[in-house]
Amino acid sequence: MTTRSWLSLYALLIRTSIKSRMQYKFNFILASFLAALIQISEFLMVAIVLYKFGAIQGWSMHEIAYLFAIMTLSKTLYRTFGDEVHHLEKYLVNGELDQLLTRPMPVLLALMPQKFRIMLGEVLQGGFLLWWSLHGMMAAGQVGWSAVPQSLYIIVTGAVILFSIGLATATFGFWTTRITELQNLTEDAARTAAQYPLTLYPKWMSSILLIIVPVGLVNYIPSLYILRGELGVWVLPALAGAALLCLGISLKFWQFGLTKYQSTGS
């Protein structure tokens, strides 16, 4: 199969997943509404933190909002396409992965479009924060227009890194079946921690967040360059390299995990 036909198959599967979800219109609308509510309350949380603490350890209110925004948008991009990777446990527990393994396509490519999530609330929230923070910093002359394409770029590399972390975490499920606890640690806790500047944390912890669970590469490291001109322009290509490296390692681990799949009795 050519890349083109893979893409069109992928698009078809995504359309199928949306069509399937639309079968339950009430549930779909209610779910979207509730998700928006949750986003609003989360946004209020962020607003309170920013208002209350303002600057943290030399990071201005706008800069912290920027860290938040990049993390939210990267996560949104990852979850829009890779939500089922995060929910792999479901497939392991009831053996639904069997079906995907009998399809003539890479398992991940069959798994990911099973559910395409439309995360409008997150996009709006993250988008607003990003606009607000960049707008504020531009007005203060801290950053120029080039920050906009750079931000979009690091949202993509960030999404790849978060996806890699999610995939590696999910892969542990081939041994343990249940992975929720581990996900709380590597995905939710780590991501929440990286919503603030890493200088806030003790050295060992910020090292973990940069090397073992590299969420710091999603927003903190690029912000050092984009917002404060530290490090150097090499950061941007290096991030792409790091993202691809993470992805490569996760994919290898995933391939290995698949050979340990246990299915379920029937």
Binding site: L13, G95, D98, L101, T102, R103, F172, G265
Partner: protein, 330 residues
């Protein structure tokens, strides 16, 4: 076509911890429970064969099928489907494979049946003309038209199974693996599906391996049967010789018109009675029940022998049920 060389599958499950961070602690535990589901099975299935794979629940049937289809990786041993390894070349292998798990549908649950076929056709690169031609055939053979537009979740079990079979055949695979395709179906639906399977095996030369608990499936469809028990093959051969090997007795009930006498050597289960192929198990009034192994004594000889005992009024013969034969193998 299908080859298995000494395949084994061990399941290792970590002992699940309880309490806080149980997932994380389970991850690092060193305690495992090991269960050997399949212990060294070898067989070969040739092109065009229709093989029944039977065994009690938990004997390792599904595990074997999952190893053959590339879903599970064997702990040791080798599998080859059409000369290819389903684990190393999974995608090429499944392109020539049709798989139906009776307990589970591979169709898109919330969408009309026909949508699933469109997606599968694209996935397996089946072109439009082939797709329509095949679906036309299946629709006729499996009577799919009636529920063409119905969402899969609203189908009856029989309809769903038919739809699933068509889905598995859409890319015209050479090999079909069917895991309990008749489970839970009524007589009509079973007949319908058996008819279809027989046809695609005989007319189109598809190689089929089927697991089932319904012995009628085996008797009516399979020319070869493999029995798995406790993870090991305990029988591999024709259905007929399976019957013979087990040698369950045929039950004969004879009614005599007048007085009769049973020669002593045939009476009861006393010593020496094993030596004679014919054995009287009960005699009530004029009706005598006899057990006989038909491999050791043919029907005509049985009648001759009985005729010597008295004047025959009626004879009723009951061959052993295949279910009982299987029960004996398990």
């Amino acid at each position: 076509m299908i080859e298995a060389h000494n395949i084994r599958k061990e399941f290792k499950t970590p002992v699940v911890k309880e309490g806080r961070f149980s997932g994380l602690r389970t991850l690092f535990t060193r305690e495992y429970r090991t269960k050997e589901a399949v212990r060294g099975i070898s067989f070969q299935v040739e092109q065009g064969e229709f093989v029944g794979y039977i065994g009690p629940n938990g004997a390792g049937k599904s595990t074997t099928i999952k190893m053959l289809t590339g879903i599970l990786h064997p702990t040791s041993g080798r599998v080859s489907i059409g000369g290819m390894n389903p684990h190393k070349e999974r995608r090429s292998v499944v392109n020539n494979l049709g798989v139906v798990f009776g307990q589970r549908s591979q169709l898109w649950w919330d969408l009309p049946v026909k949508d699933s076929y469109d997606i599968l056709a694209k996935m397996y690169s089946v072109d439009q003309a082939d797709k329509e031609w095949r679906l036309g055939q299946f629709a006729e053979l499996l009577d799919l038209q009636a529920f063409w537009e119905t969402p899969v979740r609203k189908l009856s079990l029989g309809q769903r199974m038919r739809a699933d079979l068509a889905a598995a055949m859409l890319h015209d695979p050479g090999v079909l693996f069917l895991d309990e395709p008749t489970i839970g179906l009524d007589v009509n639906a079973k007949r319908n599906i058996r008819h279809f399977l027989k046809l695609i095996n005989e007319q189109f030369g598809k190689t089929i391996l089927l697991t089932t608990h319904d012995m009628d499936d085996i008797e009516q469809l399979c020319n070869r049967v493999m029995v798995i028990n406790n993870g090991e093959l305990s029988y591999d051969g024709t259905v007929r010789s399976l019957r013979d090997t087990i040698g369950l007795p045929t039950l004969i009930t004879v009614t005599f018109r007048g007085p009769f006498a049973i020669p002593e050597q045939f009476q009861g289960a006393g010593e020496g009675s094993r030596a004679v192929p014919l054995r009287v198990t009960s005699a009530v009034d004029n009706a005598v029940t006899i057990e006989v192994n038909r491999r050791e004594m043919n029907t005509l000889d049985i009648f001759k022998e009985l005729g010597r005992w008295g004047e025959l009024d009626d004879i009723d013969m009951e061959d052993p049920d295949f279910e009982d034969v299987i029960h004996k193998v398990y």
